[in-house]
Amino acid sequence: MARYGMLINTKKCVGCFACRLACQAKNHLEPTEAFIKFHELETGEFPNVYNEIVPTQCQHCEDAPCAAVCPTHATYITDSGVVLVDPEKCIGCKYCMAACPYGARIVQESTGVVEKCRFCYENGEPGNPPACVGTCISGARVFGDLDDPESDVSQAIAKYHAQPLASNLTESKIYYVR
């Protein structure tokens, strides 16, 4: 069984928002609803300054706080490691929003379900690739099977020594190059 994850290379991200918009279309989100958020981090002082854009979304944690607090088990983790929400079970209590250390949860207005990135999961499999990865103009995003050392994502993680956003806090499966 595969274990899906992603790499996001901030050294290639120019902040064009293509990922957010492709995701919105694919997942039928309203213009103001987004599974992907952007954080601009300016460091240093003029003229020795560096600017980094860090896109964040559901980190698909192995130890997912959102799943742990969900009173109805609407949030669950598939065998392939994708964190999903069962809309039939979600009661909209927002515990998951409070529990998620990455602020990745949003209330989807049309359904009331507290949603998030699902790696474009359809028909028992994640997107091939997910919409954000498919459209990324610079190839800053790489998706694949973390358990396969030959996969693009595993190779990229090794090459760049990519790390999860918050060390190993939640055993997340999105790796960052920063």
């Binding site: 293509a18 300054v49 103009i137 610079s138």
Partner: protein, 732 residues
């Protein structure tokens, strides 16, 4: 023929097979996933894929739209297209949503005496416009008519044909507010309007004000990212650390509009330290001796005072370029300092191209490449014969003889309207009255004309000031003429009707011009559809239109690009450091220094504008999903350096008042370390004046409002940043 797709029926029998056939390259799995995902969002119907070309910027990237029941679901880049390479940027995704905007122009509109608009039918619109055009031609001659357009595949063809059929030579592109100075300059120095950087082999590349990460073409960002990873030294000369900064090895913050002094000092070092490519210069250039004699005075110390870039840094950069040569070059630039912003933009572009000549990088591996472009062959069908070339010269050609011939300067038409000689103006895909020069001047000019007709999809500021507004379908709804793409390889792309028509009363470009031409009495030149012409044009390059409709982009025979000194199509056949035509236009024929026109005094700021990755000109600011991003991330804010902000007591989120000789406006501030002190930066997409565009209306401020109406000598560019402003905090 197709049934609705649902979770239960999608694999049953012939419907699935037929839908699959229609879906082109979609695999069964992909198609099934799309159908299910679409259904989850309440979309139902047949799943299809159809190609088009993006309309988000002039790159016109190839894309593929997936539709469900004729409505757009998702977009992806066309893998074959050399600019998209399978990817679409944010503005591309966002612009596609324009088709379903609640604020499109839904039917032809006529302005009443009280300034309000009333809907009319197409026949009435054509008839009335036709009568007015005929009246203007009879009274003032066809040369008192003009069309201004932001070139698009069908639009540029039909605009020219329509004007020429009427007997008017006055066809203008938007270029005077874009890259006119650059393209005009390169025509003089090297006989081509552009060149490309051979990133894959480059050792050093210098950007003058341009940012691939803000004015985006996916393939360019990929090339830059790869070059960075391969260790190419990338230098960004810009008052602001732009969004390509992540790829830059060096950021050279410079006083805005002084790039020419910086570049001339690079030339000085290359010549005085004898670092230039003697063989290239002797064999492939003219005017070097005069150029070198003049460049003696442009020392790094001299430039340091003007640019605020230390002399040692200029020397180091020049030496590094020479060491990396010929795999080193100044990148060709686009808009900004080199395109239309200053009195010296044309000369800045000429100077940049001169650096590459000194480095011998033209045609070199890793250098600056002049590549070829394909075009359609001669058409035999008499219907497509061109109308006679108008006898009169285009208005502005005399005063601005250096303006690129295929573009002209539309501000000459504006001036002619101001003096009363231009009677009728047509705008196609162009919001000139907000974006191309001081808006008040446009308003004055439009009030003096007898007829203003705007063809657009939305009620822009220009449309609001027109006598007639004709609604076009959006680019995803229409087939257009083929677009030929040059480079190391050759391609042809085309728009198809990728989604179902959304508004029943909107028409395609060709339908509108055919109707106008008929009503104006020149219908004989318009006896065909865009598809008829596209079919014929494609046939001349051996491409079947049905293949085009399916694939969207087709590679043409390999032009067999080879490295080596290119053929310069100048009068001398060589790269020109000195050009007679430039002298004849009243400028120094030899590439040299010209200061910017307006320099801020004590207490004033330089102001620079720039593109953001999700927006294009003023066209996208009202699109709901893009406007939502701007608002969520406060992208309309004026950037101010931390040093200046501290002096003014301004913090991020505070409202500041910005004032120039022309205008005063208020906007929130963004305090940053990414900007040279003494400079403020304003994104150039905001400050809408059209109340009909409710999301964009009065959101942020617009740089054009702040600039005086003026034109660059020689080219007639808008000089978009020749102004100084004051900034003060607005106390709450």
């Amino acid at each position: 023929m197709f049934e609705d797709v649902s979770r239960r029926t999608f694999l049953k029998g012939t419907a699935a097979t037929a839908a699959l056939a229609a879906a082109g390259s979609l695999s069964l799995g992909a198609w099934r996933d799309q159908a299910q995902a679409a259904e989850a969002g309440g979309m139902s119907g047949e799943v299809r894929q159809a190609p088009s070309l993006c309309n988000g910027c002039s790159s016109k990237c190839g894309l593929v739209a997936t539709t469900v029941g004729g409505k757009l679901y998702t977009l992806k880049g066309n893998e074959t297209h050399p600019y998209s390479k399978g990817r679409i940027c944010g503005r591309g995704h966002g612009l596609a949503q324009m088709a379903y905007s609640d604020e499109r122009v839904t039917q032809p509109l006529r302005r009443k005496d009280n300034g309000e608009f009333e809907p009319i039918d197409w026949d009435t619109a054509f008839k009335e416009i036709g009568e007015k055009v005929k009246g203007i031609v009879a009274k003032s001659g066809p040369e008192s008519l003009a069309i201004i357009q932001d070139p698009r595949p069908s639009g540029k063809y039909y605009s020219k044909r329509f004007m020429n059929a009427l007997g008017s030579p006055n066809v203008y592109a938007h270029s005077s507010s874009c890259n006119l100075s650059k393209e005009s300059a390169y025509m003089q120095t090297m006989g081509a309007s552009n060149y490309s950087t051979d990133f894959g082999n480059a050792k050093m590349v210098m950007f003058i004000g341009r940012s691939y990460g803000d004015g985006i073409r996916p393939s360019s960002v990929q090339s830059l990212a790869s070059a960075k990873e391969a260790g190419t030294r990338i230098v960004s000369v810009d008052p602001r650390l732009n969004n390509s900064g992540i790829f830059s090895s060096d950021w050279v913050p410079i006083n805005p509009g002084t790039d020419l002094a910086f570049i001339m000092a690079l030339c000085n070092v290359l010549i005085e330290e004898d670092l230039y490519d003697h063989e290239f210069v002797e064999q492939n250039t003219v005017g070097f001796d005069e150029f070198a004699a003049q460049a003696q005075e442009y020392t790094p110390e001299w430039a340091a005072k003007i640019t605020d870039v230390p002399a040692e840094r200029i020397q180091e950069l020049a030496r590094a370029l020479a060491k990396a040569a010929p795999a080193a070059s100044i990148e060709s630039g686009w808009r900004a300092v080199i395109g239309c912003s200053y009195q010296n933009s044309f000369e800045t572009a000429r100077a940049a191209s001169a650096v590459n000549a000194l480095l011998g990088s033209y045609g070199a591996k890793g250098g600056a490449l002049l590549t070829s472009s394909p075009s359609a062959g001669k058409l035999t069908d008499a219907r497509f014969a061109d109308p006679a070339k108008p006898e009169a010269k285009r208005v502005g050609n005399k005063e601005y003889p250096l303006a690129l011939d295929s573009a002209g300067t539309n501000l000459a038409a504006l001036k002619a309207a101001l003096d009363g000689s231009m009677k009728g103006l047509f705008f196609y895909n162009s919001n000139a009255a907000k974006g191309y020069a001081q808006p008040k001047t446009w308003t004055e000019a439009l009030q003096k004309t007898d007829l203003v007709v705007t063809i657009d999809v939305q009620m822009s500021e220009t449309a609001l000031q027109s006598d007639y507004v004709l609604p076009e379908v959006t680019y995803l709804e229409r087939l257009e003429l083929p677009e030929f793409i040059g480079g190391k390889k050759h391609f042809v792309g085309m728009r198809t009707a990728a989604i179902d028509k959304v508004l029943p009363d909107a028409k395609t470009c060709d339908e509108i011009f055919n109707g106008l031409a008929e009503a104006c009495g020149v219908g004989e030149y318009f006896q065909f559809t865009a598809e008829d012409l596209a079919t014929a044009q494609l046939a001349t390059v051996g491409v079947d239109i049905d293949v085009m409709k399916k694939d969207g982009v087709v590679e043409l025979p390999d032009p067999n690009f080879k490295y080596g000194v290119p053929k310069f199509k100048t009068p001398s056949g060589k790269f020109e450091f000195s050009t007679e035509a430039v002298g004849a236009a009243g400028l120094n024929p030899v590439i040299g220094y010209i200061p910017r026109k307006v320099t801020p005094k004590d207490g004033e700021f330089y102001i620079v504008g720039g593109k953001q990755g999700i927006h294009s000109h003023t066209m996208t600011q009202n699109i709901e999903c893009l406007n939502a991003i701007s608002r969520e991330y406060h992208m309309e804010r004026l950037w101010i350096s931390a040093q200046d902000a501290e002096k003014l007591g301004v913090q991020t989120g505070d409202t500041v008042e910005v004032a120039s000789s022309e205008h005063t406006g208020q906007v929130e501030a963004r305090v940053t370390q990414r900007l040279k002190p003494g400079v403020v930066f304003l994104p150039t997409h905001y400050g809408g004046d059209s109340p009909v565009q409710t999301r964009a209306y009065q959101y942020g401020i617009a740089l054009t409002d702040f600039i005086p109406f003026d034109m660059e000598p020689g080219t007639g560019s808008m000089m978009s940043q020749e102004v100084a402003v004051t900034v003060k905090k607005v106390e709450a």
